[in-house]
Symmetry: D2
Subunit: 183 residues, 4 copies
Amino acid sequence: MKKINEDQNRFNDGKKFDVIVDRLEKRGVTLLDIAKVTYDLQKKYVESLTMETCLDHIERVIMKREVQHAILTGIELDRLAEEGLISESLSTILLSDYGLYGIDEILALSIVNVYGSIGLTNFGFVDKTKPGIIGVLDNKKGESKNKCNTFIDDIVGAIAAAAASSIAHRYAETDEIIELYKK
Amino acid sequence: MKKINEDQNRFNDGKKFDVIVDRLEKRGVTLLDIAKVTYDLQKKYVESLTMETCLDHIERVIMKREVQHAILTGIELDRLAEEGLISESLSTILLSDYGLYGIDEILALSIVNVYGSIGLTNFGFVDKTKPGIIGVLDNKKGESKNKCNTFIDDIVGAIAAAAASSIAHRYAETDEIIELYKK
Amino acid sequence: MKKINEDQNRFNDGKKFDVIVDRLEKRGVTLLDIAKVTYDLQKKYVESLTMETCLDHIERVIMKREVQHAILTGIELDRLAEEGLISESLSTILLSDYGLYGIDEILALSIVNVYGSIGLTNFGFVDKTKPGIIGVLDNKKGESKNKCNTFIDDIVGAIAAAAASSIAHRYAETDEIIELYKK
Amino acid sequence: MKKINEDQNRFNDGKKFDVIVDRLEKRGVTLLDIAKVTYDLQKKYVESLTMETCLDHIERVIMKREVQHAILTGIELDRLAEEGLISESLSTILLSDYGLYGIDEILALSIVNVYGSIGLTNFGFVDKTKPGIIGVLDNKKGESKNKCNTFIDDIVGAIAAAAASSIAHRYAETDEIIELYKK
């Protein structure tokens, strides 16, 4: 295995990033939609928070390889279910968003974990309250028998929660931290 | 290693169970307090749900060894912080319930996972909205400099969420679930 | 929602169990193959361990709903990749068992967690050393361009590790454990 | 909450880093010890790998806040157990490194997860085979009744495994990736 050129690697990450953005859009989700969820989650903790900052952190989250793999896999399963290519009984489980199926939460957790366990709470909260785009995706589930948004809503909630964690880590108050971490 | 006598093992589990109940009560939490959180989480999904059933599932959760270990460890860290036995900087982190410290969520996750990933959402939701006893525990944090409820509130939320998952698994039957557990 | 008849539920679980066994066999894996991995993992800790006991615990693991969902999802992704139904770039990732793709480990973790975190070590160990059927599955990956065993080997390792944890929990008794399960 | 100055934040991270290195050394572990475990794990995958590179990635892992919190918490529990400050039955569990206690693995997992799930396998492998410093820490457990290395060996294994993942992500071969991620 030859050592990679890091600049090439970053360029390459840019290409992968575009693929992910494109896939999300094909499922009806823009980065701005996700950034709005993050903004609502973090606004009360960071007074100066802007949508630009939220969007920036959404992009950081999506640059992570682990996150990209979870997104690609979840979106693919939704698509395959819609196209009737999943065998039974998994097909019925996915198309009905069966409540005891937890693999969507498992994939979401692998996204949330990228910025540590503090994102768990935010993920659970948006997964339950379904703000903004998450509610839109959830409502689409009932539109037709062949619509499958089982994975995409958890994925979007997880990206929003991970970006909120990323912001929290970045904005951690200096004075407090100097206080906290002194020996 | 000789095979253990299973009856002894169960008796032993019963003894451990009593220890756990006692420790929770010393931190101001009864099983009934936790059962109320579970009841509010699951009532809308299971019409016939009673407090007795919730209490029964809380007890099942607390019979699990993994859960007992997470409870014992978290409660011990809260107590040690209150008694000034934790060294810095961890002491300040715990006594201030520092927002970027996520080990409490990590312990909670090991409780939630006992009944599978579907409990994640409920855990995140109660951790954010702080219903009932969880809010009471959270408010006590500010009462004095030496009060530490950093772990106990997440532990209680995790037990309530795990019991909700346990109820969901128990009440599941294919035909109904499609109707009732649609997410 | 009416309370379900528990006997019906168990019957239903039995039906699901048969489906899982059938799917595993179609991917070249019998429960006996997995039980052998568990036996080798636990024999040194439990002198009286038999293959029958291992097989019994493998069956308990596979009766768990969370485990069944992880198995169904992972096996489906392997099958879909082989049949050319997965879109790029995920298709190439799966068919090449790309080393930085970690969703197979994520699914495996959801199986291992069913009996608590003590299974993590055994899972990691068999995933690295590839004993018995796991090595057979791994070798098949290179056989042809269209063979995909990306998920099945991790799933098998996770079931074996979860069964080992299940056995450890069952054979535990305080006095002995201190002697025998010292890590 | 006022926005922090990022330069101050980084400076502050340097101070926290020194605290962690100091705590590890007080438990008998140097970063070089951990780097050797990482080197042995990754050497076969990255021909040009040097100890300097391994040490560099160990340092990156330890700069992460989630990792620092897991280290501080685990080391503190080992120390408190040794000093007789943990109440029963947790004290006996920790001092005997009770095999069914899995909270040490849970803390380790929160370290491993920082670089994604591909680290799981390496963690499990070193936790089982106990190479280098991990074996040394494990042997010390039996030295006296009051020695507690229940958390430190898992923590060291987790840091080594996370650094191995970090190296794998960094050295991922450009050409392969361009191939993999093209649409």
